[in-house]
């Protein structure tokens, strides 16, 4: 029922938009030229006006708020809405045409892509939000912990059950590990964070992690908590606990240095953003579709492989010119250095690199009305 409500709202917004277009069509044809190249962002007084709506991944919610605020400052007459209904809901609404743009933690599946192409012509999918997932722990007397991927999988699969286990001790010769039982903490609600972490485990340690990848935690019997804040609360509340959480919310808890190749890497925005540098684009999905096959098993030094990469979805072709202009301007701001910095400050995400920005900018510049 929530979905239908959102749909009705979306329909209302779209019809409002149609009105706006009808009224301001003379206006639009005037500034068409400069809007196409600069993306209509910044440069003093903007002439953009109207409302666009998006929906999708709740992981982007904080970043989207920062982007809305930043975009509004440059374009006072524009309203951008983002409803964090979840990735699945976002993809569904985007395909159905209820929203102008969408957010999703997982790239569109093949059949979804076909359906979306029917709506959009070419589908644009670009990574806009990269967030490291920290492995936080709370063990009395231990401040630093190095863990190999297979050990991490063993701990979360409840095969390794005490902190002084040999597998842990081997990587931490200097630490005084207690014989406390390990309590792994996972999310009790379906989540993109879970999906990314589980995908990481299944790629780097397939033997120790035999479970299927989905947004629900596959192992029963561990400690389950609601939301990122719930996981952080559970980890800090117990002794001998370890859990995974968006790094921005890890607080004062120490986090694990993850084994990558020969080294152990602590999470940092740069190390997380590095993942996209070493990853390959998924083949055969259209020139503007920047879905990535993340290189979780990279051995590149200084790369933190447990990241959540969240995408923005948009159409290359919109029916109304106003909508196309607004989406283009907004997404241009989102991937701009300024926008990425705003998200980093508000949500603790890792800003995308300049090289990646140059790569995906053409996709956003391609947005037009048709």
């Amino acid at each position: 029922m929530r979905k239908t409500r959102a749909r009705i709202a979306a329909i209302a917004v779209v019809s409002a938009l149609a009105l706006v277009t009808a009224c301001s069509s003379d206006n639009e044809s005037n500034d068409n030229g400069d809007g196409g190249t600069s993306g209509g962002n910044g440069e003093g007084g903007s002439e953009l006006s109207g409302t666009i709506s998006g929906a999708g991944a709740s992981s982007q919610a904080a970043a989207q708020q920062a982007w809305q605020a930043g975009f509004l400052a440059a374009n006072p007459d524009v309203t951008v809405n983002y409803d964090p209904v979840g990735s699945g809901g976002g993809r569904e609404q985007f395909i159905a045409g209820g929203i102008a743009f969408g957010g999703t933690d997982a790239a569109l599946a093949d059949e979804e892509l076909t359906a979306a192409t029917e709506r959009c012509g070419e589908v644009i999918e670009v990574p806009v939000y990269v967030s490291p997932v920290a492995l936080i722990f709370n063990v009395e007397g231990v401040d630093e912990l190095n863990l190999q991927p297979a050990t991490i999988a063993g701990i979360f699969n409840q095969e390794i059950t005490t902190w002084n286990d040999e597998a842990i001790a081997a990587d931490n010769p200097d630490a005084e590990l207690p014989d406390t039982p390990i309590t792994p903490v996972n999310r009790s609600d379906p989540s993109g964070t879970t999906e990314n972490f589980v995908e990481y485990l299944s790629i780097v340690a397939p033997d120790a992690w035999p479970h299927e990848v989905s947004d629900e935690w596959p192992v029963s019997g561990g400690e389950a908590a609601q939301g990122t804040s719930g996981v952080v609360q559970a980890v800090s509340g117990g002794n001998g606990t370890i859990g995974y959480a968006d790094a921005s919310q890890a607080g004062d808890l120490p986090s694990v240095n993850v084994g990558v190749g020969e080294d152990f890497v602590a999470y940092s925005p740069e190390a997380a953003a590095n993942v996209l540098e070493v990853s390959e684009r998924v083949e055969g999905r259209g020139q503007y579709d920047f879905a990535y096959e993340l290189a979780r098993d990279t051995t590149e030094a200084g790369t933190y492989p447990i990241v959540l990469v969240s995408y923005a979805m948009a159409c290359a072709t919109y029916e109304s010119e106003a909508e196309a202009e607004l989406v283009k301007a907004y997404l241009s701001y989102v991937i701009s250095e300024e926008g990425q910095q705003a998200a980093a400050e508000a949500a603790g995400s890792a800003p995308i690199s300049d090289a990646l920005r140059q790569e995906i900018q053409p996709a956003i510049d391609a947005i037009a009305a048709g």
């Binding site: 929530r2 979905k3 709740s58 209904v85 979840g86 990735s87 699945g88 809901g89 569904e92 039982p181 309590t183 903490v185 996972n186 009790s188 609600d189 379906p190 989540s191 947004d215 629900e216 935690w217 192992v219 029963s220 019997g221 561990g222 400690e223 389950a224 908590a225 609601q226 719930g230 609360q233 559970a234 509340g237 117990g238 002794n239 001998g240 606990t241």
Partner: protein, 327 residues
């Protein structure tokens, strides 16, 4: 103006047509008709709402009931999906009732028969106030205050009473267990249960109590002979109403409980079955398609269970009217 018409009203009364039939309807004015039809409308409305909710649940749950078992989350079909949740719901609610019901009886007895009047009134207010606290507050209290407090005691339970399946362990390191969820639920259902029982105890016929005392009974014997038998059906009714509330409680359980296990009676582990309401709250935001139908189907089961419990409670309470010691 209206008062003047009312004043003339009694004067009109003494002259009804003498040949009026005996069972003719009483005089009905416009105001009477408006009031009676709006009151009836309100009564019908509640039935319509209930039927609407039931119809919504049925229609939305329908696809899930006939879905291919592979497509239901968990891959084992709707029955095996709902069963652990139903079990968790019943376990948490029944255990909460087990804690709350004796306490509620004791509180009600204290208020009605032991406490000085002024203290009794104040205490009554405090209990009623508990009912006004939002459930999320109870949840946060359970999560951040109560749960850590139980870590040490549950470890003791595991070591010394581990042979009882309830305390098999291993004890949770964070205290977010079925035990704590049940205690939180017990606190939440205490007010309604106490209120119902207290009202019944207050209505115990004075004559019964005095007769018992006159025959030489002590106060405790008087309570056993006169008060408890009179209030028995109210105790059951109040407990059932509390049970109905505990079954449907959502946020407090979603926050407090660590729901990661299947069907187990183990109260102090972190692998607990979730409850239907908490599971819906946790899973709904990220669900789409058939998953939503499955969640609503589990809601339908909860609806049926709570309806059954509440109707039984009402039936028990109503029976008291006919067979209580008062007549």
């Amino acid at each position: 103006m209206s008062s003047s018409t009312e004043l003339t009203h009694p004067d009109n009364q003494p002259q009804p047509p003498p040949e009026a039939p005996l069972f003719e309807k009483p005089v009905s004015r416009f105001g009477d008709r408006v009031f009676s039809s709006s009151a009836m409308g309100a009564g019908v409305l509640i039935l319509v709402i209930l039927a609407g909710v039931a119809a919504f649940l049925l229609v939305e749950a329908w696809p899930a009931l006939w879905a291919d078992p592979d497509e239901v989350p968990g891959g084992d079909g709707i029955v095996l999906y709902v069963w652990p949740l139903l079990f968790g719901t019943l376990l948490a609610a029944l255990f909460a009732l087990l804690l709350a019901a004796p306490l509620a009886v004791a509180i009600a007895l204290f208020i009605t028969h032991y406490a000085p009047r002024r203290l009794a009134t104040a205490l009554g207010y405090v209990i009623d106030l508990l009912a006004a606290v939002p459930s999320i507050i109870f949840g946060l209290w359970g999560l951040s205050e109560l749960a850590p407090l139980t870590v040490e005691p549950t470890r003791w339970l595991e070591e010394n009473l581990g042979f009882i399946p309830l305390f098999e362990g291993p004890a949770s390191a964070t205290g977010r267990t079925m035990l704590v969820a049940s205690i939180v639920l017990a606190v939440m259902i205490l007010p309604i249960t106490t209120a119902v029982i207290r009202e019944a105890f207050l209505q115990t016929p004075r004559l019964h109590e005095e007769a018992s005392l006159a025959l030489g009974a002590t106060r405790w014997e008087m309570i056993r002979q006169a008060v408890l038998p009179f209030g028995r059906s109210s105790i059951i009714g109040g407990a059932m109403l509390g049970l109905g509330r505990a079954l449907g409680e959502t946020m407090a359980v979603a926050i407090v409980l660590s729901p990661s296990g299947g069907v187990t009676f183990n109260l102090i582990n972190n692998g607990n079955p979730s409850t239907i309401a908490a599971n819906i709250a946790l899973d709904f935001p990220e669900s789409s398609g058939l998953d939503i139908n499955v969640l609503i189907a589990s809601g339908l089961v909860l609806f049926a269970v709570t309806l059954l419990v509440n109707m039984t409670a009402r039936a028990v309470i109503n029976r008291r009217r006919d067979f209580s010691g008062a007549n």
